[in-house]
């Protein structure tokens, strides 16, 4: 009896990853890719995305939900990349410089976002989502009109022929895969970029360590109950702002790694897509609005991107159209986010119903 309930509970709590595992299992034979190809693709995707997805963990810990404002960090990262491309700084030093440029921008944007979210307690997710739209406008203004005349950049590679504004796509030949190629191994035809792995592992260690710090403990406290935390003397507002600032800075670094791996910058689109895909990946890994772990990050990236690799090919095999896969990709990301948000509410309500049931049971016992 007890076991039955446990299985039911397990299914209910992990419904999203389970759906994805089933979908992937169906698609693998349909797409007909070789195992080696799939493994190397997934490794690439993990390298590309894990830093970004990891950056989402800290705000969840502080009870602020999914940080849709990570888009702000991505913008900061892109600005860093634009600068180093224009200045022609190559390789790893170039990426380091990009990170140095991006850090203060990300910190400032994160501080702004955190301030706003403190004014909208309880509605953090929708607020951060809207802030990212709003800041997208500011970003476009800066990149489209500011770069050139106001911010002196004079590289043909970056600036449009008219003399101001950044090109739609920038080829990042200078820094393409420079981290991945710095130190890598090839095992059975699969390239393993060791330095990238080390960087990601380092971030995981940092996050584990962070949970153990006083600040991490304070964040968990604030995340559970702001009033109780405040009574105990924790500076609630400051802690929340810090959570967003840290997340935004990590997102900026993540974006820089992502772009160097991709090799091209889509100046006006990359950042807005990346937020959505990172959040969807985390949720596919079984995270919820209030709980997420490193395990969720990696499981999520593997499942979500496996789906992405398989879907176009499966679509072509089934319908004769690869387009259907691309359609599927967007549809799935929004669907997963919606599903997770709804499930979260349902779970809360179920817990409430359970507390009512406990009273009913107690009454029965007392009467018996």
């Amino acid at each position: 009896m007890k076991k039955e309930i446990d299985i039911k509970k397990f299914l209910a709590n992990n419904i999203v990853p389970i759906i994805f595992i089933v979908l992937c299992l169906i698609c693998i034979p349909l797409a007909g890719y070789s195992g080696q190809y799939l493994v190397s693709q997934i490794i690439t995707r993990i390298m590309r995305n894990s830093f970004l997805v990891l950056s989402l963990l800290i705000p969840i810990m502080a009870g602020m939900g999914l940080n849709f404002g990570m888009t702000l960090g991505a913008m900061a990262g892109q600005i860093g990349i634009i600068f180093i491309t224009a200045w022609n700084v190559v390789g790893i030093p170039g990426l380091l410089l990009a990170a140095i440029i991006a850090t203060p921008i990300a910190a400032l944007l994160g501080w702004f976002c955190g301030k706003m979210l403190n004014m909208a307690k309880g509605r953090e997710m929708i607020t951060s989502y809207m802030i990212s739209f709003f800041m997208n406008g500011v970003y476009q203004l800066v990149v489209l009109y500011g770069m050139g005349p106001v911010i002196p950049l004079h590289s043909d590679q970056v600036i449009l022929p008219r003399g101001y504004g950044v090109r739609n796509t920038i080829d990042l030949i200078n820094v393409r895969q420079s981290v991945d190629n710095f130190w890598s191994l090839t095992i059975a035809g699969v390239k393993i970029p060791l330095l990238t792995i080390i960087l990601i592992a380092l971030l995981c260690v940092v996050i584990v360590w962070f949970r153990k710090t006083k600040l991490g403990q304070d964040m968990r406290a604030v995340g559970q109950d702001m009033e109780v935390a405040r009574e105990a003397g924790i500076k609630v507002e400051r802690t929340r702002i810090l959570a967003i600032v840290i997340s935004t800075i990590f997102a900026a670094y993540g974006m820089i790694l992502y772009l160097s791996n991709m090799g091209t910058l889509n100046t006006y689109n990359s950042h807005s897509q990346i937020g959505m895909f990172s959040i969807a990946a985390l949720l596919v890994g079984g995270a919820s609005v209030s709980r997420a772990s490193i395990k969720n990050v990696f499981l999520g990236i593997i499942l979500f991107h496996l789906m992405f690799i398989l879907a176009p090919q499966a679509g072509r095999e089934l319908m004769g159209q690869a387009q259907i896969g691309e359609f599927f990709r967007v549809f799935i990301s929004y669907g997963v986010i919606t599903l997770s948000l709804v499930l979260y509410e349902i779970r809360e309500r179920r817990e409430k119903a359970e507390s009512a049931k406990a009273i009913a049971d107690q009454q029965k016992e007392e009467r018996a």
Partner: protein
Amino acid sequence: MQSVSKEYNGNPVLKDVNFTLKEGEVLGLVGENGAGKSTLMNILFGMDVIRQTGGYGGRILIDGKEVKFASPLDALKAGIGMVHQEFSLLPGFTAAENILLNREPENKSVISLVFGQRANTIDRKTLQKKAIDAITKLGVSLDPDMLVSEMPVGHKQFTEISREISKSSIRLLVLDEPTAVLSEKEAEMLLKAIKNLSAQGISVIFITHRLQEILDVCNKVIVMRDGRIINELDAAKTSIQEMAKLMVGREVASSSREKEERKLSDSIIMSIRNLWVDMPGETVKNVNLDVHKGEFLGIGGLAGQGKIGIPNGIMGLFPSGGSVTLNGKNIPLGDTRACLDSSMAFVSEDRRGVGLLLDESLEWNIAFPAMQIQNKFLKKYLGGLVKWRDQGAIESVTKKYIQQLQIKCTSSKQKAKELSGGNQQKICLAKAFALEPKLLFVSEPTRGIDVGAKALVLQALKQYNRELGVTIVMVSSELEELRQCCDRIAIVTDGAISGILPASTPSEEFGILMVGKSMKEAK
């Protein structure tokens, strides 16, 4: 600790209160709701509320020196700890983490030189040790690694108390009704813990409604009523009856009042069987109650015992179960619409939240439910396809109630939020009256309104009951008020009805019923 005396001016809630407390002494503080116990403790604890409402008069002396606390933090520094009625714990943290919240021992590291103090890691081992120290000091069994969300209520209470005593300077601990939520066994453990603390030289002020507990642990008892200390008793020499009598008091005032005994109709309009309600802080369990047709039934009891939960549960505002029949018909629980459809109405204790549309006019507030539920005040066109509001009818009904209940307002179009509390309450009543219910629930109708308005509200309810024969069930914390209006009064203790007595019964007996479990022992 010597001579603590204080008075609270402006709105006199406390008048000339004096008492002293010795080191290691356990002081019991009893009194009805609103007697001033909480205000007294708020002053002692330097709560913000007190300062915002104009401070207090008199002096507090600790070790012979006068102290003035500007904030609870100051009080903490002086060694005063308080455990409130509501838990302030983090559900996802373990007992140990909660006990040392924001006072966690830290490991110093190089990184914190760069990133500041908060980058220090927490020293789990010391944290564990300190928590266990506090728990042993309290003398209870509590697993420091257990998550608060998985704890029974008693353990949460122990966690809370452990947190206070883990503060190194603690000398005086204030416990505000710590046993209210505990089972008998847990309460016993807690009482033992209090004795332990007192033996270690920590003084305790123990607020409770369970008088037996006072006799068990306290050295002396202070009985408060209407903001005064009525008597200071030696716990060893007093009895439950004596305390109950002092608590409820008002012998003179109540006996002089004229009593009208009415014969109750035999037919039962509503019968409640095995009702439970999950309303936070007002849990109801196993309530069985019959309401006679045309009677004015009072439901009394101390705060947090569940009396408010009864009407809220029946009307479907909180999850509930059991069976309720009205005129022999079963009422589905949790379905507010069905309750209203079967001509019940409810005046909520949450005036501003549940009772009123604050931003709408008085007309709207009064007419809205009747319009929504009974299709009143509507003009029908095209055979009922199109319904328009009947503005004329709405206006006239509003005017009628404004006059009848003497509602002070500039016009019937004024917004509800602009009225005073008393007048808002009258609007709530008018709203319920406009539904013309057969059975009316009224919850705390006089809470937070002034004496004049109180009398009017009660008068209106009484008139409504006597003249129109509407059955009224009124929940109130003020026993006197119930005794004035009601035919019978049911007292709720620990979520269940502990007794139903005619309103003419002397108040001591109600007092004994309120303290519940000790009733049998008292007799």
